[in-house]
Subunit: 222 residues, 2 copies
């Protein structure tokens, strides 16, 4: 297993977050590194989705992972077990990460030679949507057991994301979740959103996501 | 269906939230009304749990419900359909409710003759734990599909709650969720926590929760 560090991060209230985020994107563009910000509820399956993405891509490209949590480093340890560089940001009380925190994380994993960095934000459908982390692509993960009404209740995050991963589709049919209702509600807020239906247990839908991710690897960072 | 109102609420940054919460508890004590604050992730099953609790108790006691969401009033409409007084707090961007917001909600449902008010907080495992809403009992809901590692990642909320409802136990065996691991992690943070395992689909465990709730109805408010 690679060495995993945990760093304590604090909100940089003095810095202009949008400027820090912009600088971060420039820095990543120079090294050709795509930064993907993954947001979703606690238990939506963010870490499992990252592990599956690594499994499919780590032989083709160099990947790093930034895990953020209020506390614990279980996710970063799990991810590092898959052989990629990982760092855990411990936010203390903070319900989100900002661009300064991400920048600190990128320093720890020495991102200069990486093609892709996956950022797992704090599990939360509210606060993470409000902060630019410097990511090129914003991905929301919503799991089937959470229900199809979430775009109605958390409109900002669904308006903000470029990609929606509907995870745990192996649970379809076991709840009253209606995929078409979810898609309609999400697309009403954000008509250009890409939607992928995925199960990391059965593997269904994973290839489509990975294929799409590969198409944006280069163009986004040049 | 009862009439449902939606009120827009804002954080009262001028008021001392702890003092407002204290006053709220005094006000509720006078009318013998127990206020229960339900917190959990988006999709943990908070609304379904409230509906099930109403179904079991509404012939015995008078119940009101305060629903809080960033947007939409789907939950309050659903709850009002069960015949109880309900109000929707629309928090706009806020990831939690505070005592002033709850006080405004109680005014709308005229809580003076109610025995029990159930407050459904914004779906979030971080921010709601930080604010005293004036509630007598704090209940956390964690659903089986979310995973058994959540106390490690969101320690504050698990340290704060009086009761943990492990919901959607009909999903046990379909994921790698380990009930004993969850309980151990939760009790490590909070050894006096009451834990109920519940499925609103099969009805399992609901009676135990309702029986316990009835035991605290009077003592807590006198």
């Amino acid at each position: 297993m690679n060495d995993v560090k945990m760093i304590e991060v604090k909100e940089n209230i003095l810095a202009d977050n949008e400027q820090v985020a912009k600088n971060l994107r420039s820095r990543l563009a120079k090294s050709g590194t795509l930064l993907v910000n993954l947001m979703g509820s606690p238990g939506a399956g963010k870490t499992s989705f990252i592990l599956k993405t690594i499994e499919k891509l780590h032989k083709k490209i160099k990947i790093g992972v930034i895990e953020a949590d209020i506390d614990s480093m279980v996710d970063a340890e799990l991810v590092a077990g898959s052989g990629v560089r990982a760092v855990q940001l411990r936010t203390g009380g903070f319900c989100h990460v900002d661009a300064s925190m991400v920048s600190a994380g990128l320093d720890v994993i020495s991102c200069g030679d990486l093609d892709l960095v996956l950022l797992e934000n704090v599990g939360n459908l509210v606060c993470p949507a409000e902060f630019d982390t410097g990511a090129h692509v914003k991905v929301g993960i919503l799991s089937v057991p959470e229900g199809d009404d979430k775009p109605l209740k958390y409109p900002l995050i669904f308006s903000t994301i470029d990609v929606l991963i509907v995870s745990k589709i192996d649970f379809l049919g076991m709840t009253n979740f209606k995929m078409e209702a979810l898609k309609q509600r999400a697309l009403n807020l954000n008509p250009t959103m890409k939607i992928f239906e995925v199960s990391v247990v059965t593997g269904e839908g994973v290839e489509k996501w990975v294929d799409w991710l590969q198409t944006v690897l280069s163009p986004k960072v040049t």
